[in-house]
């Protein structure tokens, strides 16, 4: 059922599907990029190990800047480094970075048009037991409104690795986020990845799912389950929230005339909102949105929280049922 050109993980629906934290993809991607480009520098705010930049720091201590717990200074320092020819990756948890230092992101980075790579780790509700203060569910909203920003949400380990390298090679301010926990590996090293190009993983004709981030897996499972009930679901990996791949998304909406967006972020202001802004203006069709329903989270296991707040496979199937009813 997968698009063969994309070389996805053939064991994706196995019970023992390989699972790796997306954050590991960042750490591994940085090592490859750091080897290729000596101008890559890494900053962190007392979170070197958990954001997976520690290995970079051990390999390239002269290009590693430990900022202490001072995220605002870290962001503006990165601006100064970038304006002096460096390619800084600013690494912390998404609740602090860009949560704590949004003004510095707006002024020091975006207004200055500085080539800074902002990296939000431990994003989404799946950070789990740490609870609501540490669950970043607003970061996409506050980054995608900034002029000049590019915003990417990779779906798995492989894609996070590729996104790290691709964003490092692109000139301009960027934000990308990833999660703490292990999640299924959906793509392989052979899967193509281009910023701004959404990928159709499963072709369908009744309804489209535009999924961003690791919940893409839950969307794929929903598509598989509905196939057996005769519903043909198109699943698109919408990894670039800004700029959206308008061509691919509108083509899919034209074909299926019903869209469900899926993401681990507040429904307000996230990838779903970006899709709704696009479709409302260019090709209006019914849209249902899966995401955090205007609420903070709480402590719990990642999958428990994803179920409780309506972002798991059964919730996606319900949203598909709703959108199909609305489809004229």
């Amino acid at each position: 059922m997968f698009n063969k050109d994309l070389h996805l993980n053939p064991h994706l629906f196995d019970a023992d599907v390989e699972q790796i934290p997306t954050r590991n993809g960042y750490g591994d991607g940085l090592l490859i990029l750091g080897e290729k480009n000596k101008n890559v520098v890494v900053l962190t705010a007392d979170l070197a190990e958990s954001t997976r930049v520690l290995k970079f720091g051990e390999k390239y201590p002269e290009r590693f800047i430990e900022c202490g717990v001072a995220e605002q200074n870290m962001m503006s320092m990165a601006s100064g480094l970038a304006l002096s020819g460096k390619i800084p990756f600013v690494s912390s948890y998404a609740v602090f970075n860009p949560g704590r230092n949004w003004d510095q992101l707006r002024v020091s980075v975006c207004v200055n048009n500085a080539n800074v790579k902002v990296v939000g780790a431990h994003a989404g509700i799946s950070v789990g037991p740490d609870g609501m203060t540490h669950q970043a569910l607003e970061d996409i909203a506050i980054t995608r409104v900034l002029p000049r920003m590019i915003v990417v949400v990779p779906c798995d380990y492989e894609e996070t690795k590729k996104a790290t390298i691709a964003l490092g090679e692109l000139v301009g301010p960027t934000y990308f986020r990833f999660a703490r926990e292990k999640t299924p590996v959906i793509t392989t090293s052979e899967t193509s990845f281009n910023i701004g190009q959404a990928e159709v993983l499963i072709k369908g004709k009744d309804v489209s799912i535009f999924a961003s981030g690791p919940l893409l897996y839950q969307a794929l499972v929903a598509a598989k389950m509905l196939k057996s009930k005769g519903i043909s679901v198109e699943v698109i990996n919408n990894h670039t929230i800004k700029p959206l791949d308008e061509k691919t998304l509108i083509a899919s909406a034209k074909k299926t005339r019903a869209v469900v967006t899926v993401e681990e972020h507040q429904i307000m202001g996230g990838a779903g909102s970006a899709v709704a802004e696009l479709l409302a203006q260019k090709y209006p069709v019914p849209v249902e949105m899966i995401g955090m329903p205007n609420s903070f989270g709480e402590s719990g296991k990642p999958l428990e929280l994803i179920a409780k707040y309506g972002m798991d496979t059964p919730a996606i199937i319900k949203a598909i049922t709703r959108v199909l009813k609305r489809k004229a």
């Binding site: 605002q72 601006s79 970038a82 304006l83 200055n112």
Partner: protein
């Protein structure tokens, strides 16, 4: 580089010319900040005409010294000094704050070559300067990074984060210039939110601290020279200045922080600057 008597005299005359152009451009613009730019006119004159290694014809020269202006709202003094130094035609000064002008209300680096950063929201410039100094060290560059700051922005927590970071990295290629004029929008700094002792605070974070009269250009130049001889530490030059310096009715009055003179006020200000406060006679009226 030593400042000889003859050059000092030239610089003092230049600073007076720069003050006059600040008054003219602010009066023409009808909005903007008066007190800070006048207070920093001597230091900016000394920077652009004596201290900085720079080339107005090659604003992106990689080896240039960097001057970050953290409190972007005093940009009128930077614009006027840059125009006098040859970065752009002086007549452009009269476009300040107008639609389409390169002289934005707060400095915008993408529009005007020679500006290192875009700044306005307080407290970010020193962090950017720390980044530039770190980059310079990584690349083994000889350039020096200067960061001009207001005293008021030392109420921002981020300023102290940057002070801490510069101390940690012992950035000897970084010199901060703190405009200690004691005023901010809502009043006197020590009433609004006391800052003292700034010298002790910087010392505690591992900086070399110098305090000078910010209208004594020789003292400022000497301080910049001393800063370069201090190894293993960044230097802060706390420059005590008189806000509105040179215009009697503006001096030390915080109400002039964010306002421009009207036509009549500008006439009086220019008359005072021409006669150096009545000390000399002016042939102009």
């Amino acid at each position: 580089m030593l400042l000889h008597d003859k050059k000092l005299k030239i610089l003092e005359e230049k600073a007076n010319e720069i003050r006059k152009d600040i008054i003219k451009m602010l009066e023409h613009a009808g909005s903007g900040h008066s007190a800070g730019p006048l207070g920093m006119a001597d230091i900016f004159t000394a920077l652009y005409f004596h201290v900085l290694h720079h080339n107005p014809k090659k604003p992106n020269w990689p080896e240039r010294d960097r001057l970050v202006l953290s409190n972007g709202h005093i940009c009128p003094v930077r614009y006027v000094t840059m125009a006098h130094a040859g970065y752009f035609p002086k007549k452009e000064l009269m476009t300040l704050r107008q639609l389409g002008s390169r002289l934005q209300g707060h400095p915008e680096r993408s529009m005007l070559p020679g500006l290192e950063t875009s700044n306005g929201p307080l407290g970010q410039g020193l962090s950017q300067a720390v980044g530039m100094a770190l980059a310079g060290r990584m690349d083994k560059k000889k350039y020096h990074v200067y960061c001009a700051m207001s005293d008021g922005e030392h109420q921002e927590g981020q300023t102290w984060e940057a002070v801490m970071a510069a101390g940690k990295y012992k950035l000897r290629n970084l010199t901060g210039i703190l405009d200690r004029n004691n005023i901010q929008i809502d009043g006197y700094t020590e009433d609004v939110m006391p800052l003292e002792s700034l010298a002790d605070k910087y010392k505690a974070f591992g900086w070399h601290v110098l305090e000078i009269d910010g209208h004594n250009m020789r003292a400022f130049v000497d301080a910049c020279e001393e800063a370069k001889t201090i190894y293993e530490k960044p230097t802060i030059i706390i420059a005590h200045t008189i806000p509105g310096r040179g215009v009697s009715y503006m001096e030390n009055d915080y109400l002039w922080h964010g306002n421009p003179p009207n036509a009549e006020q500008a006439r009086q200000a220019l008359s005072e600057l021409r006669t150096l406060g009545g000390k000399i006679e002016s042939e102009h009226q």
